[in-house]
C-alpha cells in the first residue's frame, strides 16, 4: 500500500490536539500507584536485566558446592579425632626419647648417652681407653676382673654391657636409670620378685657406679 505524501501532509496540517493536563496527571498517578501497590511479577527478567538471573544462580551453586566440599573435608578429620582406636600409639623409642628428655638428670647423663648409643661405638670409651680398647673388648663380661682391669672394663664397659642388654626391650634401654629403678620398685611392690631381681641385676651391670639411696634400696632390693 503506497502512501500519498500530499494526503499525509494535509493530515499533518490539521490542528494537533493534545489531551488536557488534568488527564495526563490522572493517568500518570494511576501508573505509579499500580507499581507501588503490586510488586514486579516473579518471572525471569528480560533484556538488559537478563544476566542477573544466571549470574545469581551460578553464584549460589558455587557457594553450595564449596560448603559441601568443606564439610566433606572436615568430616574424616573429625571422625579420626574422635575415634580412640584411630589415635596412633606413640612408638616406644619415641616415647622413651620424650621421657628421657623430660627426666634426664645430670649424673645419669653419661649412662643415658651410653644407652642411646647401643648400636654405635661410644666415642668416650674409645678415646678414654685406647690402649685398653682391645683387651677390654676381648675380656669376658661375666668374669670378675682385677681392679685395674675392672676400671678399664668399666670405662669401656659400655660395649659388653651394650652387648648384654641387646636382648633387653627397647623400653628398658631407652629409659633413664631412675625410670628403670622405678620399674623395679613396681615389680617388687607387685610381688614379682624374680623379675625384679633380674631387672636389678641388669641395672647393676649397666650402671655399676650408680649409687642407690637407702630409700631406693629398700624399694628395689629383695626384702630380707
Amino acid at each position: 500500500m503506497s502512501d500519498d505524501p500530499k494526503l499525509s501532509q494535509r493530515y499533518r496540517d490539521l490542528p494537533r490536539e493534545e489531551p488536557p493536563r488534568a488527564i495526563d496527571e490522572a493517568i500518570l498517578a494511576a501508573s505509579r500507584r499500580a507499581v507501588e501497590s503490586r510488586p514486579a511479577p516473579l518471572v525471569a527478567p528480560t533484556g538488559r536485566r537478563r544476566w542477573y538471573v544466571p549470574v545469581a544462580a551460578a553464584a549460589v551453586i558455587v557457594l553450595a558446592v564449596a560448603v559441601v566440599a568443606h564439610v566433606d573435608r572436615e568430616k574424616p578429620d573429625m571422625e579420626l579425632a574422635t575415634s580412640p582406636a584411630s589415635v596412633p600409639e606413640p612408638s616406644p623409642p619415641a616415647a622413651a626419647v620424650e621421657a628421657r628428655k623430660a627426666e634426664q638428670p645430670k649424673p645419669a647423663r653419661r649412662a643415658a648417652k651410653s644407652a642411646d648409643s647401643r648400636f654405635a661405638p661410644d666415642p668416650r670409651a674409645d678415646s678414654a681407653a685406647p690402649a685398653a680398647g682391645a683387651p677390654a673388648a676381648e675380656a669376658p663380661a661375666p668374669a670378675a676382673p682385677p681392679v685395674a682391669q675392672a676400671r678399664r672394663e668399666r670405662d669401656a664397659g659400655d660395649r659388653p654391657a651394650r652387648a648384654q642388654t641387646q636382648g633387653a626391650s627397647l623400653a628398658k634401654v631407652a629409659q633413664s636409670p631412675e625410670q628403670w629403678l622405678q620399674r623395679i620398685a613396681d615389680l617388687r611392690r607387685q610381688g614379682r620378685h624374680e623379675e625384679a631381681d633380674r631387672e636389678l641385676a641388669e641395672f647393676r651391670k649397666r650402671y655399676p657406679d650408680y649409687r642407690l639411696s637407702d630409700e631406693m634400696k629398700a624399694r628395689v632390693e629383695k626384702p630380707q
Binding site: 493534545e18 493517568i27 499500580a34
Partner: protein
C-alpha cells in the same frame, strides 16, 4: 512496556509521552465528541496499566495500544446502537454536501472529509496516519484480516484525496 511490567514507573512515563498525542487524536477524530473521547482515552491507558503484568511482546506496543482503543470504540458504538460495519459503501454520517462546498478552500475541508468517512475506513486511515501502523497491524488491531484492512485504507485515502483535489 517490559520495564514498566517489571516495576519501573519511569518507563511508563516515557511510553505515555511517546503515544499520548497520537492516541488522543485518534480517539477524538473517531468520536467527534470531546468529552466522550477524553473518557475513552483515559480508559485506554488505565487498561494498559492494569494489563501490564499480562503484556507479552508478541507485537509492537502501538498495535496493542490501538487494539485496546479500537475495542473501547466498538463498545461505545454498541452502547449507542451503532455498529462498525465492514463496508466501504456505508454512507458517512454527517455528510452534508452543502457544508462541503462551503469549506472547500480551508483545512477544515480535509477534516470534514475525514469525519465524513465511514467509521471503519476512518479508523483504518487514522491508524495508518496517526499511529503509524502497517496494513497487517491495522488488521490485528481491528480484529480483521489484511485484505479488509487494505481495502478500507485504500477507499479512505481515495476519498480524502478526491476531497482535497476538488
Amino acid at each position: 512496556m517490559l520495564a514498566y511490567r517489571d516495576g519501573d514507573a519511569g518507563a511508563f512515563e516515557t511510553l505515555y509521552a511517546r503515544h499520548r498525542g497520537a492516541l488522543y487524536r485518534f480517539v477524538l477524530r473517531s468520536l467527534k465528541d470531546r468529552a466522550v473521547a477524553e473518557e475513552l482515552f483515559q480508559e485506554a491507558w488505565i487498561r494498559v496499566i492494569e494489563a501490564r503484568e499480562r503484556y507479552a511482546p508478541s507485537a509492537r506496543f502501538s498495535t496493542w495500544l490501538y487494539t485496546i482503543a479500537h475495542n473501547l470504540l466498538v463498545d461505545h458504538w454498541r452502547r449507542k446502537g451503532l455498529v462498525l460495519v465492514d463496508s466501504d459503501e456505508e454512507p458517512a454520517s454527517g455528510d452534508d454536501p452543502a457544508r462541503r462546498v462551503e469549506a472547500r478552500e480551508t483545512a477544515a475541508r480535509f477534516l470534514q472529509a475525514l469525519e465524513a468517512l465511514p467509521p471503519a475506513q476512518r479508523e483504518a486511515f487514522l491508524l495508518h496516519e496517526e499511529a503509524g501502523l502497517s496494513v497487517a497491524e491495522i488488521a490485528a488491531a481491528t480484529g480483521s484480516n489484511e485484505e479488509a484492512a487494505k481495502s478500507r485504507l485504500r477507499y479512505a485515502m481515495a476519498k480524502l484525496k478526491a476531497a482535497i483535489d476538488e
